[in-house]
């Protein structure tokens, strides 16, 4: 433990130290200011736009943004289905893996388009290298889509009245080429020099020291794993995800991958501050998120390092903690830390199996995804948080008897309706999905691999992870069945696009309103009081709606631990 805690603190502090300047860079990039990186990227992006016939300077209103976003996402989804269902006939399939079934391809393609990376297959046996590379493409562009929507939000909150909010393709491509790509190259290089494979050779057959013959899956993993974290995607190249010794060979790579998934969501918060010249507001947002994060992560580190009381009853040495589903090279503390980082941010990669974490650790992982905005995914984290900002501004405005205003724009019935719909959609999809799965045991009962309360938690986790576009799982769930593939596929779609369209619609409507400069009567949003208000709104809306479901799963399991 003595050497494990400094590692965790260092990961967080280093990420923060890098995220502030990166945020500044992102803000300059979205506002179109010149920078030294133009020389490299301008020609590349011009080539993209020339070959696709898109004019990146044509400004769009929010509806046009969303139209183009949906069109190109549909193109990605359909091409994904096509590749996954025909991979057997396509090149780069040295292991001879078969085509995906239609329902699994439906789920997988949606899951990667929406930045979730729920995986109902194992990479070793389920995908050809060509499919892996196609999914890697989706990992770039899905993260870029979320960031483009966030860039629109930044633009809409500027102090002016307009309907023109930049160009979707411009924001999207810049996010991919100028942020995601360079960061991914750095991470991939670190991985390469620590033993992660990057090869197109198929399975290797070796004879073990004891004389058994085993096959070892490899592949072009380093490139994939880098963007999987930078883009907060989280889908593993191999079945065991970042617990696999090829994906995550040592403690150093573990730190780098951890930082890789935190950096863009952190930076986007500061980018908002720099872009709107409201740095203090960005710090209020960051603080609220960090308090929520710490409230979840500290208990998890403690519970995982303490270990399973039921194993302790057997009279063995428990000093390493809850090691079921964990790797020696990371230890329980770093794995407990990762379990919350990956769930507050919508990454969903795992370096230890969440299904085997302690009951209340599992609950915290669930809460992290139920709230889904403590940092959150690339771009979409800010959008989710924006909904809570609107709610908090409205409620506190009413409490002090003033017209609610945010960034000099009045918040009225239309914005509130949209915000409420988006805020309630998340619990609706999770709870209705789980309820359906429980009501139809003929489809689900046999897929739950653990008995009792934990079995219920497995189903709840699957829908929560889908609705949060997270992608981690209580992986014991036998989820490659038409029921799970189709039902979570639908949840994935709704919970990706409505929570993007909703905040963007609010932003578009605010941007078109008259700007009223701040006066003494304006509710200050960059204060600690407002931060507290925000936190209360999040706790009430997000956390409490899920409390009954949590009592049936992880909380009940906790009380059965005696």
């Amino acid at each position: 433990m003595s050497k494990e805690l400094p590692g965790i603190i260092l990961m967080f502090v280093l990420t923060l130290a890098l995220a502030v300047p990166l945020g500044k860079y992102i803000a300059r990039m979205y506002s179109g200011e010149r920078s030294w990186t133009d020389k490299i990227f301008n020609p590349v992006e011009r080539l993209f736009f020339r070959l696709s016939g898109i004019d990146p300077h044509k400004e769009m209103n929010w509806k046009e943004h969303m139209k183009h976003m949906l069109i190109i996402n549909l193109v990605w989804f359909l091409s994904g289905m096509l590749v996954l269902m025909t991979q057997q006939y396509l090149p780069l399939n040295p292991d001879g893996n078969p085509n995906m079934s239609a329902d699994l391809a439906f789920n997988t393609s949606i899951s990667f388009v929406v930045n979730c990376n729920l995986q109902h297959y194992s990479g070793e046996t389920g995908l050809s290298y060509l499919s892996q590379l196609f999914l890697m493409f989706l990992q770039f562009v899905s993260a870029g889509t979320g960031m483009a929507a966030a860039a629109l939000l930044f633009n809409a909150l500027k102090t002016r009245t307009t309907e023109k909010l930049g160009n979707f393709y411009d924001y999207f491509l810049k996010s991919c080429t100028r942020i995601l790509l360079p960061l991914s190259v750095i991470v991939a290089l670190v991985l390469l020099f620590n033993g992660t494979p990057m090869t197109f050779a198929g399975k290797d057959t070796i004879t073990n020291l004891q004389g058994d013959t085993v096959q070892v899956s490899t592949g072009p993993a380093a490139a994939f794993i880098a963007i999987k974290h930078i883009g907060t995607n989280g889908g593993g190249f191999f079945g065991a995800n970042a617990a696999h010794p090829f994906e995550n060979p040592n403690y150093l790579t573990n730190m780098v991958l951890m930082m890789a998934q935190m950096i863009v969501p952190f930076a986007m918060i500061f980018a908002l501050g720099y872009y709107l010249k409201r740095k203090k507001f960005a710090w209020v947002v960051f603080s609220v998120m960090t308090i929520g994060f710490l409230m979840l992560v500290i208990p998890n580190i403690l519970m995982e390092t303490r270990g399973n009381p039921l194993s302790a009853h057997m009279g063995i040495d428990m000093s390493k903690g809850a090691m079921e589903g964990k790797e020696t090279r990371f230890g329980a503390a770093a794995t407990g830390f990762w379990s919350i980082v990956t769930t507050v941010i919508s990454t969903g990669s795992v370096n230890g199996m969440h299904d085997s974490t302690m009951p209340l650790s599992g609950m915290n992982e669930l809460i992290a995804m139920m709230v889904n905005c403590f940092y959150g995914g690339c771009g979409v984290g800010i959008l989710n948080f924006f909904i809570f900002i609107i709610l908090a501004v409205f409620i506190s405005g009413l409490m002090v008897g003033r017209t609610p205003e945010f960034m000099g724009k009045k918040i009225e019935a239309r914005e509130m309706k949209i915000a409420m719909i988006v805020a309630l959609l998340h619990p609706l999809l999770i709870l209705a999905g789980t309820a359906l799965a429980m009501a139809l045991p003929q489809y689900t009962a046999s897929t739950l691999s653990n008995p009792g309360f934990h079995g219920f938690s497995q189903a709840l986790y699957e829908y929560t992870s889908s609705a949060a576009n997270n992608g981690s799982g209580f992986e014991g769930l036998g989820d490659n069945t038409p029921w799970w593939n189709i039902s979570t596929g639908i949840v994935l779609l709704l919970s990706r696009f409505l929570p993007i369209i909703g905040p963007v619609a609010i932003a578009g409507s605010l941007a078109a309103k008259k700007y009223t400069p701040e006066s003494a009567g304006t509710l200050k949003t960059d204060s600690g009081t407002f931060g507290l208000m925000l936190f209360a709104v999040i706790a009430i809306v997000a956390a409490l709606s899920f409390f009954p479901a949590l009592t049936l799963g992880p909380i009940a399991e906790f009380f059965s631990l005696k």
């Binding site: 390469l192 040495d317 589903g325 059965s560």
Partner: protein, 186 residues
């Protein structure tokens, strides 16, 4: 509308070429400069090639045993047990591992068995043991191989990686290869 779809399709194709193709080739090219040339770190011993980071099943009493694996160290199908902490079948399995360990390691007290030696790893391919999980096996191996316990403890010390951050660990494969060099298999 139709023209928007075509433009989106064209942008998709060119981004596909760039992010799946160019980016992949750049990283693939860089891999040729890395140790192992992008094929993973390997150890060659007695003409056999092994992956340093991919754990192997060591079940024989004459070797340092590796941790339990839910997938039997199948490196073409990684995974954990995904058993919940209160699952009765899982707890019975842990108990059975403890009992087996005590049978194979006479003279070792139950309270000294470290939890990591009776729980399955997340990947099913954990290449490492903690120092304690290796040390607890010394008595058994000394008996099996007729080597002094001191020599074995020294071997463990030599192969313990002590990174600046993160837990100390012993690579089981390297340790067992060294064990075979110390005294060729009986």
């Amino acid at each position: 509308m139709i023209s928007s779809i075509f433009r989106a399709l064209r942008l998709t194709i060119i981004s596909l070429v760039f992010f799946s193709g160019v980016y992949t080739l750049v990283i693939y090219g860089a891999a040729q400069l890395a140790p192992g040339k992008g094929k993973g770190d390997t150890i060659v011993s007695n003409g056999h090639r092994y992956y340093t980071n991919i754990g192997q099943a060591f079940t024989s009493d004459g070797y340092f045993n590796s941790r339990p694996s839910a997938v039997g160290y199948n490196a073409a199908g990684s995974g954990g047990s995904n058993k919940g902490p209160t699952n009765a079948a899982y707890l019975a399995e842990v108990q059975a591992r403890i009992d087996t360990f005590l049978v194979h390691n006479p003279g070792v007290g139950k309270a000294d068995i470290p939890v990591e030696l009776v729980t399955a790893s997340g990947s099913g391919l954990d290449p490492d043991l903690t120092v304690k999980a290796a040390t607890i096996q010394v008595k058994r191996i000394a008996m099996q191989r007729h080597i002094s316990e001191a020599a074995l403890n020294q071997l463990i010390r030599r192969y313990t990686a002590k990174p600046m951050l993160g837990p100390d660990r012993v690579n089981v494969l390297q340790l067992n290869l060294a064990l075979d060099r110390l005294q060729p298999k009986l």
